[in-house]
């Protein structure tokens, strides 16, 4: 079976969110819904000296995440109505809205904050890796959008052969649980999953809290 996935180069990412906004434009998503999200992860402390000067070990980096189309999709495992499947030809995990009962189980189960429950419409939505584009020989819209060329799409085996096996940096959870199909280049500042020195700095943004 072919398994498609993303490569993300965190040393190139400047947190600009072009990937996220290109997706929102293509998929016509409204203000608080995003299929790809960029997490601002930062930490560090400051020390004052007697002369009024300071030293710091502050750091910041970004993680751009869409659906990882996991080998063991927690969303699929949790769905009570069998609305989520994993395509045999591409490994793409998709939500079938006609079967979705809007239980919200996928939203809670996903360790990557990916599915979003649309309670008005009555189903959950998420990244489908631009199924229509990639099965038509095109790149996902986000990959073609990145001004820094920090995203790549391909068969995950190829991406791992090219870029290595790293599949998580903080604030992502350990990849052991769901076996995400993502290859990551860790930037110099990157922390290990489970890191407690930093935090997600843009929580309101990535949880869809409407901006004024």
């Amino acid at each position: 079976m072919t398994q498609y996935g993303f490569y993300f180069d965190s040393s190139r990412c400047t947190g600009c969110k072009t990937c996220e906004m290109a997706c929102k434009d293509y998929k016509d998503l409204s203000q608080t819904v995003a299929f790809r999200k960029v997490y601002d992860y930062e930490g560090g402390t400051w020390t004052a000296a007697d002369d009024g000067s300071y030293t710091t070990d502050a750091y910041a980096y970004h993680v751009s995440l869409a659906c990882n189309h996991c080998d063991m999709p927690a969303c699929m495992g949790a769905c009570p109505s069998g609305a989520i499947d994993k395509d045999q030809k591409t490994g793409i995990v998709r939500i079938h809205d006609d079967k979705c009962t809007a239980s919200g189980a996928c939203v809670e189960a996903c360790p990557y904050n990916v599915p979003i429950l649309d309670t008005e419409k009555g189903y959950a939505v998420k990244c489908d890796l631009c199924y229509d584009r990639v099965t038509n020989g095109q790149n996902p819209i986000c990959v073609e959008a990145c001004p820094l060329r920090a995203l790549e799409f391909g068969e995950i085996e190829d991406l791992r052969a090219k870029y290595g096996d790293t599949a998580a940096i903080a604030p992502m959870p350990s990849p052991d649980e769901t076996q995400p199909n993502i290859a990551i280049k860790a930037c110099d500042a990157a922390k290990e999953p489970g890191d407690s020195t930093g935090s997600i700095a843009n929580e309101m943004e990535v949880t869809g809290t409407p901006a004024a």
Binding site: S11, A34, S53, Y54, A74, C146, P193
Partner: protein, 807 residues
């Protein structure tokens, strides 16, 4: 596939601060956290559905003033925009003019329900935003008669075309062409981006510095030959964002190996992901850091005396001009404490000013002195302070002192090189009025123009203005209020309709500036008309994009060219204005003219087919010719050399009428400046500065909700300053300066230096101007004080003092 374990997957472990934590956060349960948008909005959006098949793909361009000019390819169906792609031609790893998040959100602006649809006439007070719809005929008649009246009564000097940069296109910004046919208008000099450096730098580098181009700076691509890049307030990831912009060159340079050091008050996005790259500095104190670095160069014998003697004027007594000899006025005298303020500029002197430890200054100086090819480049933030004229020149002292100018891998301390551009716009004609003011001085010229003089206010072309400004054109710009300075003061002055009698605003949405219009006209966007423009000044390549109309303009919105043509007809100038040509015909003519001059561009027919032309440029080294042969390639300074001590500036300063707290010095010094270092008080104990933000280009795109969501308007504040005020991440705060108050969310972050808060510039002002005037939009110019800088008379508005409180 094996999914037998799917039902036995264990619940994930909650890890604080991790993604898993987010989904479980919030008492209302996760379902409430996600996708909670109104139903009707969902119905309209077709959320998550695969995009419809386009029946047409149309080239266009994002034309706001970020410095880039990125490609858009509109996918349309039945003449309606579906979505945008960007440049996907050629090799993705090389030159692709990829739009950033803003360009990818342009459809939301073009199709905004807030688009202006009809000509309107003000019905309330200026600034209230009350208008009534009128016909195009009525609107143009009223403008034509008021313009004629103004010229008759006050003369052409009373008509002003305000600075604006929301649209760049070869057939755009044609109001000067019309006004020149009408006898001229009061001009402005410099711009809101680079005001102070445009005034200061020519004294060091020569008169032609203000022309830009690639003579005085190296391209970012040249930094591949450097081993140490030092950036002062320069973040290409935030100000040079598109896929063909400097940020991509910068990324490739980084990956080629040089060490990078960023001197900034924020850990900016250009240093995202890096460690040990950031030297935090108090904003507005760059020149103090430079002084201490210069001191270290001198005491450690790292100064290139031979270079300074050959290429420069005024480093030490040996090259001082006759008029200043023997008076301890050299740069070295200033640094070593034997002249001027008689203070030795040691790292210990600079540490409390800059907040940088003395040892860190020493190591920075040592790293720069020992680099084989240091690439020193400043952004435009350091100069946008009340002391910016000095700061911009001071930063250039670093490469000068060690002779690292004009050599491979080096830069002059200026910002990176601009390309020269290969297509030109419609000719503007000649302006019979020779008088000009700094672009930041228009408000003073409205208020008391007849009292403004050359010596006191920087009026040029005459000793004093004959009249105040009575008529303002404002096209695709927001520098009446939002992007000007001291909005509350602007509001006050514009209330008096005997001062400025008439304001015409032409725009696509009701910007804050548009609320002050007497006549407000609806402009068509580039997606709605034929268009052509070159590449941007922040993209180091040659390019042209030829755009077509992808969608009809809404309502009665009209193309600028047609608006001005119709107005010219009312004024009896139509034939001269149009020369009998349509917008399409002008574009064709201007393309062919450029292609003929270039010799290597596609034919007009080929261009219509391909939409985009792009050509890579080789790296350039700033001042290489001068370095190679200073005799044959003298600079346009009086001495032909780099003037560290500028005799002409010393002479000019003698003629200036300055305020008591202002100085203009012949050498670049550290001067704290108005609301600069040392100006904080018990009432306003914090410094405040602003920065360019990814969600907007200045105020352009500021009305797009989708961008506001992912680029929240937040004040950066260090945990130390937040804790003492009981402020937590996300708290709503009030920020008050001597000029006004804004409300804004806090972003409590270690990414900003203690003692200073940072506010993204360009947010849309949102205040009840007949009530409390508290700005709920968080616009920085509610906080800035209107105080033109000493030399430029420009907008040194990054120097602000404030108090912050939880609101």
């Amino acid at each position: 596939m094996d999914f037998k374990d799917e039902t036995t997957l264990s619940r994930r472990t909650f890890v604080k601060g991790s993604l898993a934590g987010l989904a479980l956060a919030g008492a209302a349960g996760s379902a409430a956290l996600y996708g909670c948008t109104p139903a009707e909005e969902k119905e309209q959006s077709g959320e998550g559905a695969p995009a419809e098949e386009a029946d047409q793909i149309v080239w266009s361009q994002c034309v706001v003033n970020c410095g880039g000019a990125c490609a858009l390819r509109w996918h349309t169906k039945d003449g309606k925009l579906l979505y945008a792609e960007t440049d996907n031609t050629g090799d993705a790893e090389k030159l692709q003019v990829r739009a950033c998040l803003r360009g990818r959100s342009l459809r939301r602006w073009v199709n905004s329900p807030d688009r202006l649809m009809h000509p309107m006439k003000r019905s309330g007070k200026r600034g209230e935003g009350m208008f009534e719809q009128i016909s195009w005929d009525e609107a143009l008649d009223e403008i034509a008669s008021k313009l004629t009246e103004t010229i008759e009564k006050y003369g052409n000097e009373a008509v002003y075309i305000n600075y604006g940069s929301g649209v760049g296109s070869v057939t755009s910004r044609v109001f000067p062409r019309l006004m020149n046919l009408m006898g001229g208008y009061l001009k402005y000099y410099y711009d809101y981006s680079t005001n102070m450096m445009q005034a200061g730098m020519p004294y060091t580098f020569g008169e032609d510095w203000t022309d830009g181009g690639s003579k005085f700076s190296s391209s970012m691509s040249e930094a591949k030959n450097s081993d140490l890049i030092v950036l002062f307030g320069n973040s290409p990831a935030e100000t040079r964002m598109g896929g063909a912009n400097i940020v991509y060159d910068y990324t490739q340079v980084r990956e080629s190996g040089p060490r990078i050091i960023s001197v900034d008050y924020r850990l900016n996005e250009s240093s995202s992901g890096q460690v040990d790259e950031w030297v935090p500095i108090r904003p507005g104190t760059d020149a103090a850091l430079v002084n201490a670095i210069a001191h270290e160069f001198i005491v450690n014998d790292q100064v290139d005396k031979e270079f300074l003697d050959t290429y420069c004027i005024g480093y030490d007594e040996d090259t001082m001009p006759e008029s200043a000899k023997g008076q301890n006025k050299s740069y070295k005298d200033y640094i070593m404490g034997t002249g001027y303020d008689m203070t030795e500029k040691t790292p210990e002197w600079a540490a409390p000013i800059t907040q940088i430890p003395a040892d860190r200054i020493r190591s920075l100086a040592s790293d720069i002195a020992n680099a084989k090819a240091p690439f020193i480049a400043q952004g435009w933030g350091p100069q946008r302070h009340s002391n910016g004229e000095n700061t911009s020149r001071a930063i250039c002292m670093i490469p000068m002192l060690i002779g690292q100018i004009g050599l491979p891998g080096t830069n002059t301390g200026s910002r990176e090189a601009n390309p020269d551009g290969i297509v030109g716009g419609m000719p503007k004609g000649d302006n019979p009025v020779k008088t000009s003011i700094n672009c930041y001085q228009w408000l003073n010229a409205v208020d008391h123009g007849e009292k403004m003089t050359a010596a006191k206010d920087g009026v040029r072309g005459t000793d004093k203005l004959k009249t105040g400004i009575k008529f303002i054109w404002n096209y695709a710009g927001n520098t009446i209020t939002n992007q000007h300075g001291d909005i509350n003061k602007v509001h006050e002055i514009l209330q008096d309709e005997t001062k400025c009698e008439f304001i015409v605003v032409i725009d696509t949405v009701l910007t804050d500036s548009a609320r002050y219009a007497d006549i407000l006209l609806p402009d068509a966007m580039r997606a709605e008309q034929p268009h052509m423009a070159g590449n941007g000044y922040a993209e180091y390549y040659d390019g042209v994009i030829l755009g077509a109309q992808a969608q009809e303009a809404p309502g009665e919105a009209m193309r600028e060219y047609d608006i001005v043509s119709n107005l010219a007809e009312k004024l009896g100038k139509k034939d001269e204005f149009t020369e009998g040509k349509t917008q399409e015909e002008w574009i064709e003519e201007l393309y062919k003219k450029a292609a003929d001059a270039d010799g290597n561009m596609p034919s007009w027919e080929e261009m219509q087919e391909q939409g985009i032309f792009k050509r890579e440029l080789n790296p350039v080294i700033g001042l290489k010719d001068f370095r190679d042969d200073p005799e044959s390639n003298p600079l346009e300074t009086p001495s032909g050399k780099l003037e560290i001590y500028s005799e002409s500036l010393a002479e000019a300063a003698m003629q200036m009428e300055l305020e008591e707290d202002e100085i203009v010095t012949p050498i670049p010094v550290f001067d704290p400046g108005f609301q600069g270092y040392g100006s904080v008080t018990d009432e306003y104990p914090l410094y405040c500065s602003s920065f360019h933000f990814k969600g907007r280009t200045h105020s352009s795109y500021g009305g797009v909700d989708e961008l506001k969501q992912v680029c929240r308007q937040q004040m950066w504040i260090n945990p130390a300053d937040a804790e003492s005020r009981n402020i937590e991440n996300g708290d709503m705060c009030a920020v008050t300066s001597p000029a006004g108050t804004i409300r804004i969310e806090a972003r409590v972050t270690p990414r900003i230096i203690p003692g200073t808060v940072g506010i993204p510039q360009g947010a849309w002002h949102d205040a009840d101007m007949t009530g409390d005037r508290i700005d709920n939009g968080g616009c920085i110019n509610t906080l800035t004080t209107y105080r033109p800088s000493p030399l430029a008379k420009g907008n040194g508005v990054h120097s602000i003092i404030v108090q912050v409180a939880k609101a």
